[in-house]
Symmetry: C2
DNA sequence: TCAGCGTATAAACGATTATTTATATTTAAG
DNA sequence: CTTAAATATAAATAATCGTTTATACGCTGA
């Protein structure tokens, strides 16, 4: 690993610019039903009706949330006959959700670890 | 590093339960002004008026967002005379923001890395 | 106690959003 | 071409949210 790679690991990206992008992604993750959908399609692609049955949500609601997740580029679409399959676009979303979950736990137990 | 620590790193927490907690945290991170405030108080504690001047936001708006961030346990409060100081409660929030920022960049450049 | 500063709250408003109900679009089969 | 199934869209509604304006609260010094 060269010096550039090392610098990439330790260097803190700006993050003061482009707050719009992380805020937008966070908004996509701010709804419990959308998170359920993301977890539902994280391993294998699922049809809309499959998601509907698995999560016990109405079909228009699932379609609406999928549209939102597609807008955020968090899911990818694939048509097959009359079915439309959705799958997670990037596994790092799940990692971020884990970190959010872990952080929430620690915050409530007041072990802020800071 | 002992076996427990290793297990902690690789073990996948449930995450299918308690989706409410990460969704709630994500909602706190879904507003650009709140993110600016979080970054503003990430290193040293800041008074409300300090934040107001630094971010060029109205005082009631800053107070409102601080109340929201307090509800999410993301900031801690400390009174000193007539001043009220706020500071970031847990540095991992910044890490999560970085990951969101990085993910957003990669998603738009279509290098999903998945 | 009064005045002034820092902060919090209330009320009001517009905008966005999650959800439901109803309808349209698309696809494949007969 | 017609029909049925899968999915998407539209319209409508209720709820939430971000912001502004105005006002109240709390602390400190005179």
């Amino acid at each position: 690993m060269d010096a550039n790679k090392v610098a990439e690991q330790t260097e803190r990206p700006p993050l003061d610019r482009n707050l719009q992008a992380p805020a937008f992604l966070a908004k996509s993750l701010s709804d419990e039903n959308r998170l359920r959908i993301l977890l539902c399609v994280r391993n294998r692609k699922k049809s809309v009706s499959g998601i509907v049955e698995e999560l016990h949500l109405s079909q228009p609601l699932v379609s609406h949330h999928l549209k939102e997740l597609r807008r955020a580029l968090l899911v990818e679409v694939e048509r097959n006959g009359p079915f439309v399959f959705y799958k997670l676009a990037d596994g790092r979303v799940i990692e971020i959700l884990r970190k959010l979950h872990e952080l929430a736990q620690d915050l409530v137990t007041h072990r802020t670890g800071f």
